[in-house]
Amino acid sequence: MNIRENIKTLIIEKPLKLDCGQTINDFPLAYETYGSLNENKDNAILVFHALTGDQFVTGINPITKKDGWWSYAVGPNKSIDTNKYFVICANVIGGCMGSFGPSHENPKTKKIYGTDFPVITINDMVNAQINLLDFFGINKLFAVIGGSMGGMQVLQFISNFPDKAKTAIPIACTSSHSAQNIAFNELGRQAIAADHNWLDGKYNLNNTVPDKGLAVARMAAHITYLSKKGLQEKFGRKLQERDDLKFGFDADFQIESYLRYQGSVFVDRFDANSYLYITRAMDYFDLVKQYNGNLSNAFKNTKAKFFIISFTSDWLYPTQENKDIVIALNAIGVNVGFVEIESDKGHDSFLLDVPDFLKALKNFLDKSYNEK
């Protein structure tokens, strides 16, 4: 799963001190770009991906052969218009699409890291990605954008590098991972650990994968990305290719079959240990605590213009948690706009064809770009 010819990789030589105390250097950061950087180098947008995303934002993902995860929002003439903007996205460290992660070999032991890989935080992810600016010779990004865990990276990025982005768009996210979200992540991790193929993370040694556990983790998480109303409307109690209940434990209902399918395709593209590491990073994310209980302090040095977006049916990162960020920004007079988009597609709304969302995103970007 490491080096594939379709993956562009930047080797980061500069030592990076991780929050866990370890220092890493000479590590790979896999990235992809769309559009082209203009002469002034002021049209670059750094997109941060969510838990199971990767650097292949739009177009056909060369590894999975499916559409990129944000194809609705990013591309020529789309909200994040690649005719106009230069879009950069990197696979987070701890991930499994080419960036330094638990499926890599430890140069000292010549063995796959597995759970010997250092625990990564959102802060570490962002500190690794800042190197992309030097690499492309960009002094200031036009925008940093991300949804869910990508939104957390936006917040962390601005607090770490207050003058490195002109605009910031955190979408459907939080400044502090809630108990409920930690609980769901723990459920996923325990599902993986309960798979006898997991082998305490050393499954690579045995050439096995804990695919059953990872699939269950994905199924449970997938439910949290949707809304009750959305599920009811799409599936209701419809039966799967049968006229009646079978009085057994096969997938009688379409929703069961759908979740099993989601689980099965996920294990083909995602590494179980990466799932553990990245969910952990989300759980550890608490920008409020990082700034001693005052979120406003995270942003007090920035002149970036914020636009915060939430969705009505998102119960994983509900509007109030997004509004808390707005409140913290208003408390110190930062330029912040906010809109809650009406949608019954749940947390996943930001990834889907939700016209009001896509319109707001496009308008904000295009208007802000023209403001000099």
Partner: protein, 198 residues
């Protein structure tokens, strides 16, 4: 009502910080940005209107002024504008106090329920008045706390804020309101415009 926006724009000083509460489609915000180079923010309850503001490049927060003004520290703005919405709040007293906490000054405009047409409407028909500026029925109007120009002047004494400037809009003409002409302005003014301070 363009004249209303022009009057508000005239009152506001250049380069100040302004919050437009209930900013609607952002028309006034745009005007203030261009004419007075103000640093302006808006709050708007309607999602559609917020979208329009975003499409104009305006910084707007979707929210309800009755609850969401809390987040702004004291004196965050030089002016807070509340255009023709005071009557729609559950508790106008709290809203006025919040406006004056968040802003050094506030500009409040009110559709005048003391206008002669409104009075005549009620007197002759005996039903709740429906006029051009108050087009809704009593059961579906957002205006739950209508007041007159005179009421607002009285209100300033009751909850203790200062009125620095009070203007009446009559047929697109603006005139000052003072204690000697209050009776007439309250009878003929379609709109009252007040610059107030703590």
């Amino acid at each position: 009502m363009k004249t209303e926006y022009k009057i508000i724009t005239n009152i506001i000083e250049k380069n100040s910080r302004v919050l437009d509460v209930g900013c609607d489609d952002g028309t006034l915000m745009e005007l203030l940005k261009i004419d007075k180079n103000v640093d302006i923010r808006g709050i708007e309850i309607s999602k559609e209107k917020v979208q329009i503001c975003i499409s104009k490049g305006l910084t707007v927060i979707e929210g309800n002024a009755e609850f969401d003004l809390k987040q702004f520290p004291n004196d965050s703005f030089d002016y807070v504008v509340l255009g023709q919405t005071l009557q729609a709040f559950i508790n106008p007293e709290i809203v006025i106090k919040e406006l004056l906490r968040v802003g050094k000054k506030a500009i409040v405009t009110i559709p005048n329920f003391g206008h002669w047409k409104v009075r005549l409407n009620l007197l002759i028909k005996g039903t709740m008045p429906i006029t051009n500026s108050l087009p809704n029925n009593w059961y579906n109007t957002p205006n739950i706390h209508m007041c007159t120009i005179k009421d607002f002047v009285k209100f300033s004494k009751i909850i203790n804020f200062k009125i620095f400037k009070s203007l009446a809009l009559i047929n697109k003409n603006v005139s000052n309101i003072n204690s000697s002409n209050l009776f007439f302005k309250n009878l003929f003014g379609e709109l009252g415009i007040f610059l107030i301070e703590k």
